[in-house]
């Protein structure tokens, strides 16, 4: 396989495909312009039809919405707050930077919004088992959390390479009662975990719901997952109006599969003066071929049940993605993002590993907030946008996840840990932690194996262990 998707011609903005005068917010699957659909084995069609009908009915049912709202209030911690970030903003051209704090949700990221909704739906459909794919582990942990809360059997597929890199998250999921299945096929990463989850679903669809973690996959997943996350933008839009008195100039979010970005973008789709900017994982740089920028560096194609933008070679074989952020390390993207990019309503550009890590450290030092590395891609975009807009500008950032899970990576990246620290803390590590923690145990070890005695009901304890990522 070649190492990069062959270049494509720049495209003129395409029509939305919506009826004349329709709000962009009214767009719903199966198709978003030329993207979306259901490219699945026939065996799954009945289950997708069932899911589509069940979600449509539940979403229109006030009692379902009330149950989910109450869970969000008393379990997730919604509404999440909006935080002014003036010291960070000083580095962003003096613009006003506002952070939508999804990192403060239970389990430490926006992921819980989707997971609780789909878990409630699972029970409503009379199914008793959920399966999920996970890359870094954050969607897997959120799913395991919801499964524990609602007494569902839970199986999480995770690429073998990721289980090795993220051994603590494997332990977290198991602690929550989930079965974690390492996937040893293909590239042994997230896309292969997704393949294996789909194989499981085909074989067990009668009693199993596939709790997919992002706005990708076959219809109705892209629409359903967006609906479950759009609370982010609805809250944030009102909060920004309250504190600023006007809408933001730009909304920025990181994009892997794209769930946190769709969640915050959606409420602003029909505000033409609000720019929408998605930041993709640029890895070593799109020109190097080692990246995960499906929109910037990919081409239209079909993967995992949907037609969208995709990293692929000239034969249509999927190309492995690369990013320091495991949660953005996926070769595809949700079809609604591909559509928003094609129509020109949203812009997407890559942020390199280095740019993301610099932004991560800047937020730590200026605001005392450690963001997830995924989220740091959005922060790098916020710095660029703030500098473009200047002191009058207002930039809304989806702070999609907390970064405790990334402290080990940051310690290595910034050389924060000395050899002495490593030796001194060696014996604090358990066998399972050893596989995932190499360089930063003085920071990580204290927060990891020792607190496993905390009851799983303790929301703060799980969030503190923090492996919930911005995306997947």
């Amino acid at each position: 396989m070649s190492t990069d998707t062959p270049p494509r011609e720049p495209l003129a903005p395409s029509p939305t495909g919506l009826p004349e005068g329709a709000d962009l917010r009214s767009a719903a699957g199966p198709y978003f312009g030329d993207f979306g659909g259901r490219f699945v084995p026939e065996a799954l069609v009945a289950a997708l039809d069932e899911l589509d009908a069940a979600f449509t009915q539940a979403w229109a049912d006030p009692s379902f919405r009330a149950e989910l709202d109450e869970l969000h209030r008393s379990y997730t911690g919604r509404p999440s707050i909006l935080t002014d970030a003036p010291r960070f903003g000083a580095h962003a051209g003096g613009a006003r930077v506002l952070l939508k704090r999804e990192d403060l949700n239970h389990t430490g990221s926006h992921k819980i919004n989707n997971v609780l909704g789909q878990a409630l739906l699972t029970k409503r459909m009379g199914k008793r088992r959920v399966i999920a794919e996970t890359g870094a582990g954050q969607h897997g942990v959120a799913t395991a959390t919801a499964a524990a809360l609602m007494d569902l059997e839970c199986v999480v597929y995770m690429g073998e390479r990721d289980t090795e890199r993220q051994a603590l998250n494997v332990a977290r999921m198991r602690l929550l009662g989930a079965e974690v299945v390492p996937v040893s096929t293909g590239s042994r990463t997230l896309k292969d975990a997704l393949n294996e989850a789909m194989r499981d679903w085909v074989a067990n669809v009668d009693d199993t719901h596939y709790l997919l973690g992002t706005v990708a996959g076959p219809h109705p997943f892209p629409t359903m997952v967006r609906e479950l996350h759009r609370v982010i933008g609805e809250e944030a839009r009102g909060q920004v109006l309250d504190v600023v008195g006007r809408l933001p100039d730009v909304v920025v979010a990181c994009v892997g599969g794209g769930s946190n970005a769709m969640g915050i973008f959606h409420a602003f789709l029909d505000d033409p003066d609000v720019a929408l900017l998605g930041l993709e994982a640029g890895g070593d740089g799109v020109a190097t071929g080692r990246h995960a920028s499906s929109i910037t560096g990919g081409a239209p194609g079909v993967l995992h049940g949907t037609r969208s933008m995709l990293l692929q070679d000239e034969d249509g074989q999927t190309i492995e993605s690369h990013s320091i952020s495991a949660g953005l390390d996926y070769p595809g993207v949700g079809p609604e993002h591909a559509w928003l990019a094609a129509t020109g309503r949203a812009q997407y550009r890559p942020v390199t590993d280095d740019e993301a890590m610099q932004a991560l450290r800047l937020l730590c030092r200026t605001e005392g907030i450690i963001p997830a590395i995924e989220t740091a891609h959005a922060l790098a975009g916020a710095l660029q946008e703030g500098r473009r807009l200047g002191p009058e500008g207002v930039v809304l950032v989806n702070l999609s996840g907390r970064g405790d899970k990334d402290v080990d990576t940051a310690a290595r990246w910034f050389d924060l840990v000395s050899e002495e620290d490593l030796v001194a803390s060696e014996d604090l590590r358990t066998d399972v932690a050893d596989e995932g923690v190499h360089d930063g145990p003085d920071v990580v070890a204290g927060g990891a194996p020792q607190d496993e005695g905390v009851p799983p009901e303790g929301p703060g304890s799980r969030a503190d262990r923090g492996d919930d990522r911005g995306d997947r």
Binding site: G301, V302, G316
Partner: protein
């Protein structure tokens, strides 16, 4: 149908070559034997030789698999073979070469492919080049007719067979719409699951074949799980064709071309029992 008229081996009349091969096998007694092997496993030349050996030993319709990076409908045996083929450098154009060489035997040759490689190649260009190579059509495990308007048009234009799948979970409406979209035969997946060798063919298979025929299908072949002459004979008693994949792939991996030939002979004896 002018494009098809120039393709070697094509009748150019709009009749299904796969269907004709199945009908000829039925006329000899029993059912047709459909054998699957992925192109490029263990290498291009050997995969072609093995496919030709299957035909010599009684396989009526050949399915050549186009190895793909993300084969969600395949179990471990075929996944591993596809991965080995890709690691060996197999390219999509090699599949057309293999089609041409296997079609020389006179067997109907279908390509089984996930959809993205065809999208990337260009649906109409792929249909044109497949027809020119002597291919009979496509089996598309992750393309349902609902999403296949461009393939329906291209296969008409180039006189190719279209094989879509039905499953035990398919509703009567979907059986009818899928059967109406197929040309050649309807592929009935015997169980809910992926490809692979199973001790028993799903008990739902006979019922699914009956329901698919009742929904309008002219020919129904059964796949997923068939590995022995006994199972082949059982399926042949109620279906128009018996599809064998993983067992042949495993034979090729374990015993090379001779093992594929002898398994094909056993299976052929089973379907014509």
């Amino acid at each position: 149908m002018s494009a098809a008229a120039t393709a070697p081996g094509a009748t150019g009349t709009g009749t299904s070559r796969t269907g004709a091969a199945i009908d000829a096998a039925r006329a000899r007694g029993g059912a047709a034997l459909v054998g699957y092997l992925p192109v490029g496993f263990p290498d291009l030349a050997t995969s072609v030789e093995a496919a030709r050996a299957m035909v010599a030993e009684g396989v009526d319709v050949v399915e050549l698999g186009l190895p793909y990076s993300d084969p969600v409908m395949d179990g471990p045996v075929i996944q591993a073979a596809a991965q080995a083929a890709l690691e060996g450098g197999l390219r999509v154009r090699d599949v057309l070469t293999a089609v041409e060489q296997v079609a020389e035997t006179g067997a109907a040759v279908l390509v089984m492919t996930y959809w993205n490689p065809v999208v990337r190649y260009g649906v109409d260009a792929w249909a044109r080049d497949l027809a020119a190579a002597g291919g009979a059509g496509l089996i598309t495990p992750d393309l349902i007719p609902d999403e296949g308007a461009d393939w329906l048009a291209a296969s008409e234009a180039h006189d190719l067979d279209r094989v879509f799948l039905v499953a035990p979970s398919s509703t009567p409406d979907r059986l009818a719409s899928t059967a109406a979209s197929c040309r050649g035969f309807v592929y009935a997946a015997s169980t809910m699951g992926v490809t692979g060798v199973r001790a028993a063919v799903g008990s739902a298979a006979a019922g699914l074949v009956e329901a698919t025929r009742a929904a309008g299908a002219e020919r129904v072949c059964v796949g997923l799980g068939v590995s022995s002459a006994e199972q082949a004979a059982e399926v042949a008693s109620f279906a128009d064709g018996v599809i064998v994949g993983s067992a042949l792939v495993r034979a090729l991996g374990d015993g090379g071309v001779p093992a594929v030939g002898s398994l094909a002979a056993e299976l052929a004896a089973g379907v014509h029992r």
